[in-house]
């Protein structure tokens, strides 16, 4: 099988969509936080916690969508913690973010171990099953690739235009965007800046956790330590790639997932000649390359990383 045959293979495209789904959620989540002016470096930990929380909900007997909701709530709770420290107390977003990642990851491992101490191989749940969209999934090639996915993937795709609408066509979205550009302007219009920023961080963190939950409830069906594996950090690069725009975030996630799916299949072709580690490096290296090309011209939200302090001598 050569490179071109990979593209002709239905499985490649289906895998692309599947790999992209957690990235879509997490990138949108980080995008919302950064649009409001807050860099959320807790993303890696929140995704891990979301993966564990959603899975555990189902393992303990709950239903799948309930698990997704639970994961979102847990993510939102960590987002609230982040917001209290960075938005209300104005502490360093870099330091607090790393702290939240460390806390959420370690807490998820701790709780998992505590609830399931004896497991040598991680137990499994019945994850989201593939749902064949009626009629559409019968279309040759496209049907198999795009309309034979799990419901959580369809949800990911559907949520992109919702986030776009929310940011660009609603008053609260305007407030969020303004909070990331000039919080004094938001204050001057009588809106509570701290509440808007915190709300954005909570919602964004919820999205991130759902991205993590996808890994344990849709892509796989068990929780492994280290399964997030840097995906959260990659999403931070993807947000810059997307110029903080939801539609471009979808494009970035798909592109990246495509390259990742390609890398997996390319390993099979030349696995003997080129060691697999170099293929695994590609996603991270490509993210760095993307950042190199885009950082110069990137228009960051003007007030990103700048805390807003109410009532200080203006």
């Amino acid at each position: 099988m050569d490179i071109l045959e990979i593209f002709a293979n239905v499985g490649f495209w289906a895998a692309t969509l599947r790999i992209a789904s957690p990235l879509i959620f997490a990138t949108l989540g980080e995008l919302i936080c950064e649009r409001a002016g807050v860099l959320n470096l807790g993303i890696e930990g929140i995704m891990t916690m979301g993966a564990m929380a959603g899975w555990m909900w189902v393992y303990q007997g709950g239903d799948l969508w309930g698990g997704v909701l639970f994961a979102a709530c847990v993510g939102g709770a960590f987002g609230l913690l982040h917001a209290i420290f960075t938005v209300y107390f104005g502490l360093s977003q870099h330091v607090v973010g790393i702290g939240i990642t460390l806390l959420a990851s370690s807490l998820s491992f701790f709780l998992f171990r505590m609830i399931l101490p004896a497991a040598t191989t991680p137990p499994k749940i019945t994850a989201f099953q593939v749902y064949e969209v009626p009629y559409l999934s019968d279309i040759p090639f496209i049907g198999q690739a795009f309309f034979t996915q799990t419901p959580l993937t369809y949800f990911a795709l559907a949520i992109v235009p919702v986030v776009w609408y929310g940011l660009y066509r609603t008053p609260v979205g305007l407030a969020v965007r303004m909070a990331g550009e000039n919080p004094a302007a938001v204050e001057a219009q009588g809106i509570d800046v701290l509440a808007v920023r915190s709300g954005a961080v909570v919602v964004g963190s919820g999205f991130m956790a759902v991205g993590g939950a996808f890994l344990t409830m849709s892509a796989f069906d068990a929780f492994y330590f280290g399964m997030v594996n840097g995906r959260g950090w990659i999403c931070i690069a993807l947000v810059i790639f997307a110029s903080w725009r939801p539609m471009k975030a979808l494009l970035g996630a798909l592109l990246f997932a495509g390259l990742d799916a390609l890398q997996v299949r390319a390993q099979q072709i030349s696995g003997v000649v080129i060691p697999y580690q170099f293929f695994l490096m590609l996603p991270y290296l490509l993210s760095i390359v993307a950042m190199i090309f885009l950082s110069r011209s990137a228009t960051y939200p003007k007030a990103l990383l700048v805390p807003f302090r109410r009532g200080e001598r203006i």
């Binding site: 470096l41 913690l81 420290f85 209300y88 107390f89 104005g90 502490l91 360093s92 870099h94 330091v95 607090v96 790393i98 702290g99 939240i100 460390l102 806390l103 990851s105 370690s106 807490l107 491992f109 701790f110 171990r113 505590m114 101490p117 594996n229 840097g230 950090w233 990659i234 931070i236 690069a237 810059i240 060691p275 580690q277 170099f278 695994l280 490096m281 991270y284 290296l285 993210s287 760095i288 950042m291 190199i292 950082s295 110069r296 302090r309 109410r310 009532g311 200080e312």
Partner: protein, 349 residues
Amino acid sequence: MRFEPREHVSVLAAVVAPVAGVAAALLLCSGLILWTGESVGEAYWLLLKGAFGTKFALTETLSRATPLILTGLAAAVAFRAKFWNIGAEGQLYCGALAVTWLGTGMITLHPVLMIPLLFLVGALGGGAALLVPVILKNRLKVDEVVTTLLLNFVILLLVSYLLEGPWKDPMLMGWPQAAPIIDEGVLPQLVAKTRLHLGLIVAVAAALIVWLVMTFTVWGYEIRAVGHNAAAAAFSGIKINRTIIRTALLSGGLAGMAGVTEVAGLKGYLTLDLSPGFGYAGIAVAMLAQLHPLGILASALFLSAIYVGADSMSRGVNIPTYIADVLVATSMLAVVLSVMLARFRIRFS
């Protein structure tokens, strides 16, 4: 809610604040311990005993503190200049790679020469790993948080490739591990029959040197100035780029030296699990010490005690060892908050 800077922050407050933060963290984690059904008192007692109770335990704690001191210094030096180096983990492994490359038989010198050479090479390896993110930041404005983080994964994969391939020790059947460091390069033991090695002395010396440089030299002044206000520093003639590069090389070098202590001191050879997250823990070490080089000696010891103690504790009571990481993360957040409260007064209106 408004924050007013307190006019006077006593030294006492500056020391009490982190201690208060740690105490709060211990309190919060005792809640977790209660949830597991174990006794809080017994758990913390076992933790303390596991870290300091016997001579062996003490040497374990000190040897575990060695790389933490170095990665803590690495984070502190970088963060002082507001250069967010989150890649200490990868830089540590680069130092380990450099030392493995040079110290497994390529050249042989007397230990008095060999050991400093290994540290130098390890520091260069760590510094080199940070060079790319630094240049990208300076020239192309690429955010260093993401580049340093992602490079960690790349470097770890590189190590994996080397250990499974060209550097695999042919003497061992199948286990991915590099050839051992030659005898002349192994760091001597400080206490017989323990794992405590010369690396501790090197780490403490490094902390002293970093403190001297930061407090008494022009370099230290420039690093602090750039970290506080780069625009004002540039205005007064400080060369920002040069300062950041110097800081990055110093930071990466310190992390690389941590790799040396683990390969040439603790283990004797390079393995994939050389570092259980020392690079990331270094950030916690630095924050707990408020980026003060001498304070890092204390906070590294504290973190090391928690890790070593938790290992031992988990054998006595039914609490997962991850409690240590939870405790460290909680401490970090609590201290960041308590230090801020020591410097600012809250006014409610």
